[in-house]
């Protein structure tokens, strides 16, 4: 086949450009973040999980170089003449000063797109969506409250239970030991054998006094002794044995449960509920980025609370008054029966229009402070109302003073505020 070498590279990595692509996204992160944030407002609720088209003004992504501008005197040769003859004059197009036709590739400021448009993937979309956000108190949970462990390999030890015996390691050690112990002797044997062969091949001396017999005998004895010696080296010895060692490492709990608490009393309109849903979805996606396994518990309440499925949670209508504490009580009960804080990271988001039976608000405050907040990682309360706050908000303010790290509340008066509020609630706090 001569000098040509044919190689199949198709199985080589195809993502050679991944780093460069990432560099590009990094450089234009502000543009992209804005596009992502706009997309969140624009998209329908169920549609948050896909990539996004992003456009950046070309001016911002162009790489500047020295080039010719317009003006002056220039000549260009073009193909496809029809009926021009030398000396013909052609009118210049109005308005565009000196913009010759066919400058195309020569001048970068001719036509061309004003926007540099590209696509980011769903994962990148979510990354930008949740950029700079973090789950509060994640670290604390990892280190302190962990009660599950991983066993990780950590080398070998000379002691252990038979079940952890590493055969290959042990045999390798034995082999090395045998080589080490017998090496010198085997070498000696080889030397002696060589001497022996030499003596034997030497012409026999007639004079008995000079006979090699004794020497040969002595050599043979010595060789036999050494060989026996070598043979006595055990094939495997106790000191060869190696056992696999394992270390107990605390394992961060990788499962989380998210409680969605919503007021569905008569005062909550569908608009309120949509806003709440979008907030919950953001939280859900965000949690999913951090945890392998997430349970979601939906609790809705008016005067009494009930655990429901997603469909019912968002779409069934109720009427009547509001007792928020009923939901908190139910949440606590569910934690106790199903989500031991030792194994679960617990998050809760509560949405309401702020309406509550006045006597109930202090009860809520007490429930949160005494029973719920000690168990959860984070509890976020959003009040969806354009109006003034009521009793519940002020009660919660006191809760926040006592638990600034694990409790936060914000008001959303317009759907466009969902994302900013979400960001505020989960903003990475300076360490």
């Amino acid at each position: 086949m001569g000098m040509t070498h044919i190689v199949d590279r198709r199985l080589n990595g195809k993502n050679k450009s991944a780093v460069n692509r990432e560099r590009f996204l990094r450089r234009y992160r502000h543009h992209i973040k804005k596009a992502v944030s706009d997309a969140v407002h624009r998209r329908s609720i169920t549609d948050i999980e896909r990539g996004e088209n992003v456009s950046i003004p070309s001016r911002d992504t162009d790489e500047p170089v020295f080039h010719h501008g317009q003006g002056g005197h220039r000549e260009m040769v073009h193909p496809g003449n029809r009926d021009f003859v030398a000396g013909d004059r052609l009118p210049k197009p109005e308005g565009e000063d000196g913009q010759g036709q066919g400058q195309g590739q020569a001048s970068p400021d001719g036509d061309g797109m004003d926007e540099f448009a590209f696509q980011i993937t769903q994962e990148e979309f979510l990354n930008f969506l949740f950029d700079d956000l973090e789950l509060p108190n994640l670290v604390r949970k990892k280190l302190k409250d962990t009660e599950t462990f991983n066993y990780v390999r950590s080398g070998f030890s000379t002691q252990g239970v038979p079940a952890k015996l590493d055969v290959i390691r042990s045999l390798r050690g034995a082999h090395a030991r045998r080589l080490g112990l017998s090496g010198a002797r085997k070498k000696k044997i080889r030397e002696l054998e060589a001497q022996l062969a030499e003596l034997r091949s030497a012409p026999a001396d007639l004079d008995a006094a000079f006979s090699h017999e004794d020497q040969i005998k002595a050599l043979e004895d010595e060789i036999a002794r050494l060989k026996a010696n070598v043979k006595r080296i055990p094939f495997i010895d106790e000191i060869d044995l190696r056992y696999r060692q394992h270390l107990k490492q605390p394992k961060p709990a990788t499962s989380a449960v998210m409680f969605c608490l919503m007021d569905v009393s008569g005062s909550m309109t569908q608009m309120h509920k949509d806003t709440a849903k979008r907030f919950f979805i953001l939280l859900y996606l965000f949690l999913r980025k951090n945890y392998k396994k997430i349970d979601v518990v939906f609790i809705r309440h008016h005067t009494s609370a009930k655990e429901v499925d997603e469909e019912e949670f968002f779409y069934s209508r109720e009427t009547g008054g509001t007792i928020v504490s009923s939901a908190l009580k139910l949440m606590h009960k569910i934690i106790e029966s199903r989500y031991s804080p030792a194994e679960w990271n617990i998050y809760a988001a509560q949405a309401s229009d702020g309406d509550n039976w006045n006597d109930d608000s202090p009860v809520c405050g007490k429930l949160l402070t005494d029973r719920i907040l000690p168990l959860v990682q984070y509890f976020a309360y959003v009040e969806i109302t354009p109006q003034d706050h009521q009793m519940l908000w002020y009660e919660y303010e006191r809760v926040q003073e006592r638990f600034p790290e694990s409790f936060a509340q914000q008001q959303i008066s317009d759907p466009s505020e969902i994302y900013p509020v979400f960001r505020w609630l989960f903003e990475r706090k300076a360490a």
């Binding site: 086949m1 001569g2 000098m3 040509t4 070498h5 044919i6 190689v7 199949d8 590279r9 198709r10 080589n12 195809k14 993502n15 050679k16 450009s17 780093v19 460069n20 692509r21 560099r23 590009f24 990094r26 450089r27 790489e63 170089v65 020295f66 080039h67 010719h68 501008g69 003006g71 002056g72 005197h73 220039r74 000549e75 040769v77 073009h78 193909p79 496809g80 003449n81 029809r82 003859v85 030398a86 000396g87 013909d88 004059r89 052609l90 009118p91 210049k92 000063d97 000196g98 010759g100 036709q101 066919g102 195309g104 590739q105 001048s107 970068p108 400021d109 448009a117 590209f118 696509q119």
Partner: protein, 519 residues
């Protein structure tokens, strides 16, 4: 080189031999690619094509996009601009707005050519003929490539560059490195020696000399600035006016690398890397028409030769000719698809016509090309390939027939007049003028503004003065201010740029400050 007498003649001039095609289907296999390459190599040898060994790499479309975005280099340092290129390539491709080019070929020894797995067998054969024998022999034979690039060292150098840049990123942060690279890229076209032959690239030498150079560079820079005497009142004013540099410098990046006062060593090294790569690509920028024309001429000639020998089927030729026709299509100036002269068309037309002039010269040819008409075409074409660049190649070999075939005409755009003027067309009085104008169009120093280092105020504010000499009053474009900011980032002190026409400053740019009046 085979003897001219037993060389095959043009297509169709010999009766078809017994047809035993290499293959009949359109699906390729590695075995078939090997067989085709073997046969194409035999044909290439008949015409005396001298090539580096070939390395053909079959890749997927995604990998082709990767290769695209790094200007075809198999390895490169990381930079956002390559990511941008990748994003726009993949977007265009996914939407079906553009097909990927069939091939990318790298001027290296061995010569690396990429084949896309999606291609049909005739296309793979076309690419092999085009890249592995056309471009490859051009890289090996053309004087610019021979003198300015070292095919055997480029891959190692690219690896060296990538590793060095990524080490810098670790030590100094991605942002700091990106800033330097951005600025270098802005001046990249001004990072080449246009006349002086550069030292060959070598990764081993670079590493070896790096430490040595570190010390040396710094000492050199220090020397420059240390020899500045104090500004004594009584100093000789003539001496004070001594220029630095003595002569204007065309290689801006080189000048900055060697003389910028504040750069750290790693920054100088990065400038050096960008400048070396610019130099490596410089011959390609000057030989686009020739290089593509040569490769196109050879895929056309070699595959026709295969057909003559009965090695390919009629179906194969149909598919091949269809692609070939698309490649050399030249939309006329008034077509919506027109975007300048297609280098494939122009180059191919000139080479194919050169062959005609050798083999079947007319009276016109004898008058225009007395030295060439009727000579051995293989030798003449090799001579043309080896000893010219686009500008001189067009000036030398563009024939009246090609001008007529392409219906070339020249148009003048003078901002002092309110209409365009047709100055020459493809007719007897116009040929020479047309040819000159087209040749000039491919002169890089005509396409790019002429900007050089004019001087450094080494006794004053250390500002750097660049000088632009406009050609035909054409001013600088709108990126100028922005590029100056990059120059300023590298130089570290004020940078000025003046457009000087016949001793008069017609335009000036400053970053960040204009010099005080009367300095």
């Amino acid at each position: 080189m085979s003897d001219a007498t037993d060389r095959p003649n043009g297509p169709g001039s010999e009766g078809p031999e017994t047809r035993t095609p290499v293959s009949t289907g359109s699906e390729w296999t590695f075995e078939l690619i090997g067989k085709y390459d073997e046969e194409i190599a035999k044909c290439a040898a008949e015409f005396g094509l001298d090539t580096y060994p070939n390395q053909v790499e079959v890749i997927s479309a995604e990998q082709m996009m990767d290769a695209y975005s790094s200007v075809g280099m198999p390895v490169g340092y990381n930079h956002w601009s390559f990511g941008k290129q990748f994003l726009s390539t993949s977007k265009g491709y996914q939407r079906g707005q553009m097909g990927l080019a069939y091939e990318i070929v790298i001027n290296s020894d061995p010569c690396i050519a990429y084949l896309m797995e999606e291609n049909t067998l005739p296309m793979q054969a076309l690419v092999i003929a085009h890249a592995c024998y056309g471009h490859n022999s051009f890289f090996k034979g053309n004087y610019l490539f021979r003198a300015w690039t070292d095919a055997s060292a480029i891959i190692d150098y690219l690896v060296f560059a990538r590793n060095y840049v990524s080490e810098c990123e670790e030590r100094h942060g991605v942002d700091a490195v990106e800033q330097i690279l951005d600025s270098c890229h802005a001046l990249m076209n001004y990072g080449v020696d246009r006349y002086k032959r550069p030292a060959p690239i070598s990764a081993a030498n670079e590493v070896l000399r790096q430490e040595e150079r570190e010390e040396y560079l710094q000492r050199r820079v220090n020397d420059l600035w240390r020899t500045i005497p104090k500004m004594d009142e009584d100093e000789d004013p003539v001496k004070r006016k001594k220029r630095f540099p003595d002569e204007p410098q065309e290689n801006l990046l080189y000048f900055i690398e060697k003389n910028a006062p504040l750069l750290e060593t790693w920054q100088r090294e990065i400038i050096r890397i960008v400048r070396k790569l610019a130099q490596y690509f410089y011959p390609q920028r000057q030989t686009q028409v020739m290089n593509e024309g040569w490769a196109t001429f050879w895929h056309y000639t070699l595959l026709n030769r295969m057909y003559e020998k009965g090695l390919v089927t009629d179906g194969f030729m149909l598919e091949f000719l269809q692609s070939h026709t698309a490649v050399v299509y030249q939309p006329p100036f008034n077509s919506p698809w027109y975007s300048g002269i297609n280098p494939y068309t122009l180059g191919f037309s000139i080479f194919i016509d050169l062959r005609r002039i050798c083999e079947a010269p007319t009276d016109e040819d004898r008058e225009w090309f007395p030295d060439i008409a009727g000579t051995d075409w293989v030798k003449t074409l090799h001579f043309a390939m080896a000893n010219f660049k686009d500008e001189s190649f067009i000036q030398q070999f563009l024939s009246p027939k090609v001008m007529r075939d392409l219906k070339l005409f020249a148009i003048e755009d003078n901002d002092m007049e309110d209409s365009y003027t047709v100055t020459a067309i493809h007719d007897e009085p116009g040929y020479r003028e047309l040819r000159e104008k087209l040749a000039r169009q491919y002169n890089l120093s005509y396409r790019e503004p002429n900007i050089q280092v004019w001087g450094v105020d080494i006794r004053g504010d250390r500002s750097l003065m660049l000088r632009h000499v406009p050609v035909d009053r054409v001013p600088l474009g709108r990126d100028t201010e922005e590029v100056l900011r990059h120059a300023h980032r590298l130089w570290g002190f004020d940078v000025h740029l003046e457009s000087v026409e016949e001793g008069l400053v017609v335009e000036d740019y400053h970053c960040p400050h204009a010099p005080p009046p009367d300095s």
